[in-house]
């Protein structure tokens, strides 16, 4: 009897614990939206999302986060262009082409790369990447400083590598061996079999890796803040040698001096809300891709 009671009590406890993550998401949504939505309403949704100027402290303040949205997109795009191809090649290398002794060294190295804190990446970017870019391109492209979209993109490209590599590798490994053997039997070389048969077969998994990489790049804060220059100017995609501010850095740069409960404060929270919505969209994409993968696998 006592045993049964105990069982029931514990089941309830497990259930309550399981509700914690739901509660957490609910609280996060509730509190961010409760502070952010009124601010967006006061600024006006279109003035907020589409406004080109961010002038929080002037007499008639302007809170347009279009430059930051574009900044996030540019920097993430640059990181994807630099990081994803290399990441996928490394994943191919690790899954199908590399000798065992190298793999035994490479795998923990990639894990370590994933574990390095973003401040260390940011510090490295600040000390090495920013001066290097200024020295190489400063004169030619009339740069004001090395703090630029380029620096942030390269740094983020490095930072998303471990994410892309490990997920892509798992998915490339999961491709049935028969496909490879079939290709070899038909006379394909090893490389051709890997690139033309295995990689396409792992397509949805590789896509998932890219989407997660995008998530990581959009959400990165500290490293970007240390190398991106943080200007609130609206940039065009080719202005890669100028600085920019992203959604994440907008929050971190101005939180220190903001007046509590002012519209400025609300606008910063609202920036967080926009970022949150971005991430939700990316998550949705990810789960759609995963769904595809599952249904594709069962066929």
């Amino acid at each position: 009897m006592i045993q049964k009671k105990k069982e029931q009590i514990m089941q309830v406890i497990f259930q309550i614990a399981a509700l914690a993550s739901i509660l957490a998401v609910a609280l996060i949504c509730l509190f961010l939206f409760a502070q952010g939505i009124p601010a967006i309403a006061r600024i006006g949704l279109f003035d907020f999302l589409g406004g080109k100027l961010w002038r929080p402290t002037v007499a008639e303040p302007l809170f347009g986060i279009l430059p930051m949205i574009l900044g996030s997109i540019y920097i993430t795009g640059g990181a994807i262009i630099l990081g994803v191809p290399i990441g996928i090649f490394v994943a191919v290398f690790m899954a199908r082409m590399c000798p065992k002794p190298i793999y035994r060294f490479l795998k923990p190295a990639i894990n370590l790369m994933a574990g390095i804190p973003s401040v260390i990446y940011g510090f490295f970017g600040m000390m090495v990447l920013v001066p290097l870019i200024f020295e190489l391109f400063g004169k030619r492209f009339d740069m004001m400083s090395g703090d630029s979209m380029l620096a942030a993109s390269i740094l983020l490209g490095i930072m998303i590598l471990p994410t892309v590599i490990s997920i892509a590798e798992t998915n490339i490994r999961a491709v049935p061996q028969e496909l490879y053997e079939g290709a070899i039997a038909l006379g394909a070389s090893h490389e051709r079999a890997v690139f033309k048969v295995i990689l396409p077969a792992a397509k949805s998994g590789v896509m998932a890796a890219i989407v997660l990489g995008v998530g990581r790049a959009i959400g990165e804060t500290m490293a970007v803040k240390m190398v991106a220059g943080n200007q609130t100017m609206l940039r065009l995609p080719y202005e890669y040698f100028k600085g920019v501010r992203t959604l994440t850095t907008n929050i971190i740069v101005e939180m220190g001096y903001v007046e509590r409960d002012s519209l400025h404060f609300g606008a910063l929270i609202a920036t967080g809300v926009v970022l949150f919505v971005f991430i939700l969209i990316i998550n949705l994409l990810f789960s759609i891709i995963n769904q595809d993968k599952k249904s594709g696998g069962s066929k």
């Binding site: 920013v130 190489l136 400083s145 740069v253 001096y257």
Partner: protein, 311 residues
């Protein structure tokens, strides 16, 4: 076909990045050793003459001015833009840094940079520029001939005003001993300050806010704790706005601000001016510029002048 061109493009990117990565190791090594050498050179022989002769010829004045500024809301920025007349028209391309020392590090690392910092934060890693022929110093700020200056203040909520720990610490700050500390690197704000006698109180005070006031507060804390060993003072940063709002809400006992209180902030708060500070315009040590007029400073920070040879 498309795939082939795509893979070719990718490979060229790869090769490019490989090359720059290889280049990075060599160039950054050389540049770091260079900067080490120049660092030791400047610290070992601070004779300005040789330095100037050497660098003036090296300085490429056709380069873009690297403008660095503080973020919106910073007290230093507030003071700087209102006095120089830059106002709300801060140059949009100016790189934004969030701490005094970040600014100093950026100017130190970029030969074409210009920025501004609190007078108390100046050091020999960067060069101070005279404004309209006047060098920023205690004397020139006190007599008003150096124009870019602002008050440092602490603020206390009305409830905390009667707290004896808070009162005692503020008494100390405004005393002769406290003001002597203000005068050491900044400028004292109280004339004929009274002598302070240690109270021997015990307890903890929380102080927070402006990072510009922080170095002064650190020195004040050390001196105060020497006199009152039973006390403890915790100092946190966050900036003027945070200091003011947290003092008003009672999260901290004393807020530090490097700008005057806005009307919206004044309710329920009492403020005390504890020192005066100048805002110095700084450039890289390799920059031959010695003097700038207020107009040129304004033009640089509004983006009308973008190259070092345009004035």
């Amino acid at each position: 076909m498309i795939k082939k061109t795509l893979s070719l493009a990718l490979s060229s990117i790869l090769v490019f990045t490989l090359l720059t990565a290889c280049g990075s190791e060599t160039t950054s090594n050389s540049s770091s050793t260079n900067s080490n050498e120049s660092n030791t050179a400047t610290t070992n022989e601070p004779t300005p003459q040789t330095d100037n002769n050497e660098t003036a010829s090296d300085f490429d004045s056709d380069r873009i001015i690297g403008v660095f500024t503080r973020e919106d809301g910073s007290g230093t920025r507030d003071a700087f833009v209102s006095i120089t007349g830059v106002g709300d028209d801060m140059y949009g391309d100016a790189a934004v840094k969030t701490e005094t020392n970040e600014i100093i590090a950026s100017v130190e690392g970029n030969a074409f940079a210009i920025s501004y910092v609190s007078l108390g934060s100046l050091n020999d890693r960067i060069k101070t520029v005279n404004i309209d022929g006047v060098a920023p110093s205690a004397a020139t700020i006190k007599d008003g001939s150096y124009a870019i200056q602002r008050p440092f203040l602490v603020c206390v909520s009305d409830e905390k005003l009667n707290d004896e720990l808070v009162k005692d610490f503020i008494d100390f700050i405004l005393s002769a001993q406290g003001q002597a500390i203000s005068a050491a690197r900044w400028i004292d704000a109280v004339d004929n300050a009274p002598e302070y006698t240690p109270s021997g109180l015990t307890g903890t005070l929380k102080v927070g806010g402006s990072t510009s006031v922080d170095p002064l507060m650190q020195s004040l804390r050390t001196a105060y704790l020497d006199l009152n060993p039973g006390m403890e003072i915790e100092i946190s940063g966050g900036g003027s706005g945070t200091g003011i709002s947290e003092a008003a809400s009672g999260v901290i006992d004393i807020g530090m601000s490097s700008r005057g209180l806005r009307d919206s902030e004044k309710e329920g708060l009492t403020d005390f001016v504890i020192a005066l500070d100048g805002v110095a315009v700084i450039v890289n040590v390799a920059n031959p510029v010695e003097n700038l007029t207020m107009d040129i400073v304004k033009s640089i920070f509004t983006g009308e002048i973008v190259r070092w040879n345009q004035f």
